[in-house]
């Protein structure tokens, strides 16, 4: 699972960086989105990958004296990812607004607002 996960992050981030460096504003937008997906997965992975492990103690476990943390997933990265998704979504929407405004103003989707001279 780790290998697939790591490859997924790597492919997302690599495609994101490539798109980010493209001259068309929509490509830049897609690049930023892919990069933020890769980052979100990365944050999640930093809490260690675990299957069938709840992030919250159940009542029985909390009552007993010995709690084995290995049987639980780390809830903090999950909370961080939620926050990061919300913030990333909002700022990407903002970028989209600026993108459309530039497009409307200049009539081209080049990030510099004009087509490069051939």
């Amino acid at each position: 699972m780790e290998l697939v996960y790591a490859l997924g992050i790597g492919i997302l981030a690599g495609s994101g960086v490539w798109l980010l460096l493209r001259p068309r504003s929509f490509q830049v937008l897609m690049g930023l989105m892919l990069l933020s997906y890769a980052t979100n997965l990365f944050i999640f992975g930093m809490g260690r990958l675990a299957q069938h492990a709840p992030p919250i103690l159940d009542a029985a476990a909390a009552a007993s004296d010995s709690v084995d943390p290995m049987r639980y997933a780390d809830p903090v990265p999950q909370a961080l990812v939620l926050t990061a998704i919300v913030i990333g979504f909002a700022t990407t929407a903002l970028f989209l607004v600026v993108l459309l405004a530039l497009r409307g103003q200049t009539g081209t989707d080049h990030v510099d607002g004009r087509e490069p001279e051939e």
Binding site: A84, I87, F95, Q105, V111
Partner: protein
């Protein structure tokens, strides 16, 4: 009383949030009400900042004996809950934010805040983000506050519209979104290695890491450092900065003066807490020198005053970074003094550009396109721009002898930027270099110190040449000049900042004593760590149920 005073820590974050939100419920046409709310909030923040300055100093040992105040926001003890922490440096930065935002607000009340976007709300959110970033004791909250201030700054930067602004705005947003991604990666790596995000807790855990884990931790810290360097505008990640800052309308540019300082503050704060200087120091020195050179060359080449000011931001960032990179402990207090002075200088200078821009009749369309026409953003979407009473914003009394006043302010700015006496720019650079030279025999290689001295003085000379050339063209050329009408409300914040700069020179002694204490507590983070982490016991003692 003490219990109430502790809540002052949260005010600089809470007040602008409330004021900014409240203004959404006030109709755009009720301008005076919006301005009153904004002014009340900013004044209260300034008062809170001043109170924090006093409470963290030695003059008031009865509330926070070690000068570090901790505020558990959710009521949970430190490593688990989120804390706000105020120490002397944070108090200085919050007060500085208050001063800058007050100037920008009063200045904008004349005509810059005309409808289009919720200017006053955005200004409040920007100050909220700034204050929060200065006060937070938690790495992830630092990210959140960075995003708050950046989101507000995107809106502010686009104010006034125009193709050029939107084009540079697009670049600005893209650069900063990429920076945020890096920030998150750094935070995630650090969390993955240490299992904590609390800065004070991090310090202890980082020291206990195994050598093989330490590598990944350092990588995380370095990625985080790059994110901060983007915000600070350091070479080679700063090519967006001069264009963006100079195209933003004047009061927004003044506010942005604080934004580069946030990056520097974060480097200073985390660098001292995590003791990462040894690994990052040498790199910082050369990065700083390169930013300094970029800024100086840009200043020489700039034709327009606003662009010149944009490049002067790079120069001050460069000086601060390269001085930090020398890793001389005694240098921190002069660095802080220079940081304060340069924040005020940049703010003053950007406000001035807003007034001198009106002296020339035929500007290139690039810079003149701003606020006379309705925001073209509306045109792009085919929406009619909202109208408001007193649309042309002729608010306030026009003052006489405008050119003389502007010339005086320009001279003050030039003295501040280039570091000539009698204004505090000179004191800041002098104490920086004098301290660095005095510390050489025992400390770092003298070669680096001499390099810094040459670079600082050289950039001062370059700034002097560039400024006198632009100044002559602005104020002494007879052709095509139009004496602008200047409003009292615009002149007041500018005059206040000049007086403040003069005050900093006059009272450099007490200010430096305070900053010395701030620098000492930065380099001895024990008090900081202790105050944050001992919160647990302090909180639980009264909570113990007595059966």
């Amino acid at each position: 009383m003490n219990a109430l005073l502790r809540h002052i820590v949260v005010l600089p974050v809470l007040l602008p949030l409330l004021a900014g939100t409240l203004m959404f419920f006030v109709a755009e046409a009720r301008r005076s009400l919006r301005i009153s709310i904004a002014l009340a909030s900013v004044l209260a923040q300034l008062a809170a900042g001043a109170a924090l300055l006093y409470l963290t100093s030695d003059a008031a040992p009865w509330i926070w004996p070690e000068g570090v105040g901790v505020y558990p926001v959710g009521g949970w003890p430190a490593p688990f809950g989120i804390v706000l922490v105020v120490d002397r440096l944070a108090a200085v930065m919050v007060t500085l934010t208050g001063i800058v935002s007050l100037s920008a607000l009063v200045y904008s009340a004349t005509r810059w805040d005309r409808p289009g976007q919720p200017f006053h709300s955005l200004l409040q959110f920007l100050t909220m983000g700034l204050n929060g970033a200065f006060l937070t004791g938690d790495l992830f909250n630092l990210f959140v506050f960075f995003e708050v201030l950046l989101a507000a700054s995107y809106g502010l930067m686009l104010r006034g519209g125009g193709t050029e602004r939107i084009r540079l705005g697009l670049h600005y947003v893209a650069v900063n979104l990429t920076g945020s991604v890096l920030f998150l990666v750094g935070v995630a790596l650090i969390y993955g290695m240490t299992g904590t995000l609390n800065m004070a807790d991090l310090a202890g855990r980082a020291a206990m890491l195994d050598p093989h884990e330490r590598g990944l931790f350092d990588a995380g810290a370095a990625v985080l450092g790059i994110a901060f360097l983007i915000k600070a505008g350091s070479w080679p990640l700063n090519f967006w900065l001069p264009g963006t800052y100079s195209i933003a309308i004047a009061p927004v540019g003044a506010l942005f003066a604080m934004m580069t300082k946030v990056g520097l503050y974060a480097i200073l704060r985390l660098g001292t807490i995590l003791e990462e200087y040894e690994t990052l120091g040498a790199a910082l020195f050369f990065i700083g020198l390169a930013s300094l050179a970029t800024g100086a060359i840009g200043m020489l080449g700039a034709k327009h005053l606003a662009r010149l000011v944009g490049y002067s931001v790079l120069v001050s960032t460069g000086i601060l970074l390269s001085a930090l990179g020398l890793r001389i402990e005694a240098l921190t207090a002069p660095i802080l003094f220079y940081l304060v002075v340069s924040a005020i200088t940049t703010c003053l200078f950007f406000l001035l550009t807003g007034m001198t821009d009106r002296t020339r009749q035929a500007d290139p369309a690039l810079f003149a396109s701003d606020d006379e026409e309705p925001a073209p953003v509306y045109a792009a979407y085919g929406i009619k721009a909202p109208s408001v009473e007193g649309g042309d914003g002729d608010v306030g009394v026009a003052i006489p002898a405008v050119m003389a006043f502007l010339g005086m302010v320009f001279a003050c700015c030039a003295l501040l930027v280039t570091g000539l006496p009698p204004l505090p720019g000179f004191l800041a650079k002098f104490s920086l270099l004098a301290t660095a030279l005095a510390a050489t025999p025992a400390g770092a290689a003298p070669k680096e110190v001499w390099l810094l001295a040459v670079a600082v003085l050289g950039s001062g000379l370059a700034g002097l040449i560039a400024l006198s050339r632009v100044g002559m063209r602005l104020f002494w050329s007879v052709a095509a000049r139009q004496t602008p009408r200047l409003r009292l409300l615009e002149a007041a914040p500018v005059g206040m900042l000049v007086l403040l700069a003069g005050g900093l020179a006059l009272f450099a002694g007490p200010v430096n004593t305070y900053l010395d204490a701030a620098a000492r507590s930065l380099h001895r983070p024990d008090a900081y760590l202790h105050a944050v982490l001992s919160l647990e016991t302090r909180r639980e003692a009264p909570a113990e149920p007595a059966p």
